[in-house]
Symmetry: C2
Amino acid sequence: MSVTIHDVAHQARVSASTVSRAFTTPEMVRTSTRERVLRVADEVGYTPNRAARGLITGKTANIGLIVPDLGNPLFPAILKGAQARALLADHAVFLADTDENPDLEVNLIKAMVKQVDGIVLCSSRMSESQLRGVLNLTDLTFLNRKVSGVPVVLIDSADGMRQAVEHLAALGHKKAAYLSGPPTSWSNRERRKGLRAAARTTGVECVELGPFAPKFEAGLQAADLVLATDVTAVLAFNDLIALGVLNRLADRGVAVPDEMSVIGFDDIAFAAMCTPPLTTVFTPKESAGRAAVELLLDWLDKKSLGHTGGTQRTLGTQLIVRSSTAPPPPVSAGSVGRA
Amino acid sequence: MSVTIHDVAHQARVSASTVSRAFTTPEMVRTSTRERVLRVADEVGYTPNRAARGLITGKTANIGLIVPDLGNPLFPAILKGAQARALLADHAVFLADTDENPDLEVNLIKAMVKQVDGIVLCSSRMSESQLRGVLNLTDLTFLNRKVSGVPVVLIDSADGMRQAVEHLAALGHKKAAYLSGPPTSWSNRERRKGLRAAARTTGVECVELGPFAPKFEAGLQAADLVLATDVTAVLAFNDLIALGVLNRLADRGVAVPDEMSVIGFDDIAFAAMCTPPLTTVFTPKESAGRAAVELLLDWLDKKSLGHTGGTQRTLGTQLIVRSSTAPPPPVSAGSVGRA
DNA sequence: CAAGTTTCTGCAAAGGATTGCAGTGTGCTG
DNA sequence: CAGCACACTGCAATCCTTTGCAGAAACTTG
């Protein structure tokens, strides 16, 4: 079928061992021999079979990456960073999409385990007990979920939320709504935490609506709930929801930002492309993907010398002010145009 | 390290062969034995090592998927479909992003070859000669690129373009611009073909601008070029470019659709979310991903009995009329508001 | 030139699973 | 009760590489 190490060995009149060494420990084989071997290998198009190699070395040079939903642009961005970083280290990546389903997540992990050196879990939706069940199956690294004893990369959502609330406060808003995301999401918990803290210090009153699925359609639904309250600003769990809100508000004839301010989260590419361009909190998506892979790889390297305990890397966020936020309307006009 | 077939064999007081058979050919092992083996396997958490299995069976139960750019929402959508279909067949997927770079594409293919049963190439940007070089490395299936002798799934872009041009003609447009995509893209060639044919039959004059990278930023750039012509409508290679055009036109104070009609291609999720909602040609992205995997898997199945020649599946498209298209402005107003 | 190093190279085992072939045990038949 | 067939199960080879160990070759040195 395909060309093996023995084919090369035979052609080059050496043993398989020598061919192997010519690739993995070149300094162990005489220059002239090595050159001949490599030339033959190149001629016949030989590349080592990684599965076979992995069998003996215990390293597959593959990593897994699991995301909740590729339909959310956040994840392709993370994935892109992760893939690029893995490529640098000459690793390939297995991808799986759980469709926001924790049980599927567990199964996908189990299926992957044997073919990878470790797995990056993005915004894992697993319960604590499910998590414990998979934790010792392989080396795991978490993105946007806090787990002790293993590498995690976190995006400082709480601080991003602080920036957003302070922005609203500075504009003069007194009352805002938070559209909550998935209850099992660490990011959502952090964002709420940041929200509550900032609400206290700034004096902005915050009501919480939801939870909502992190999707555009949920935003459409949320918008009407928002209009049923007397808030002048909305903070969405993510941009997708914010975009939905924007759309529904336009349909309902509510002007953004004049009658209602809207803030998203993540700064997906489309936040800048919609009308009005969305004020949102930038999160370093590709960097996060890169960082997660890097941490995982470092962790695996250090594994031989006993572990020093889980590493943690926290990435900053930055409010991007665009055109979906403005001072609140004068109080008398606050209820104009609503049902 | 991890639990092997021998651990199970030992625990269950049988040989490794029996454990193997309990999984792969259950009817060959006595019911009572099989149950005991499976129970033990479950208890110790054994799952067969696919790499080892692949070594002997010659099948890895993995497939590769290569895309030009995860930043284009088209590809995550395809990917999602592909991944879901692969999962159904109990296959895992390797993902790679080529960043629109053909040389990298070749290298990524070579790196993957040994770990997969076949690869799906999405909108491959490789040259003909590069393509010939990789064609016999493994089983390849192409998405949106015509290659003879192997399975391909095509999206009928030409017909989508026909629908778009006829739509413009029906609205009364006389002259339109096509913003061309990557020259190496099969889709772009098809779209141009469809455009030219429809231009002839409808009498709409079509000028071609570009080529442009299939990105938002290129659309910003293209918009000004469009305004320098006297067209009343723009057909973009894809939605990303169209969205850029929309944005730049808004900045330039050109009203869409009143002063200029804009049509995109692909119907990515955000086409419906922007303002005005974009008239665009829907392409079945997830279905295409599913179909590509399906064709590949079928192809692999049939491989044992000699091949019957490449299969080809063509998927239809559908113009989605939203709010970015309208009849052209009256002639006198045609140049109002332009530089 | 003999002896001792050093440098290369090959043999063979290992890694986890599958599978053809042969052996064990059971049940049936005559 | 002997003899046979049949249903299970185990042995051992195999897939492709890597790697410890030992032998061969080349080179130094006295």
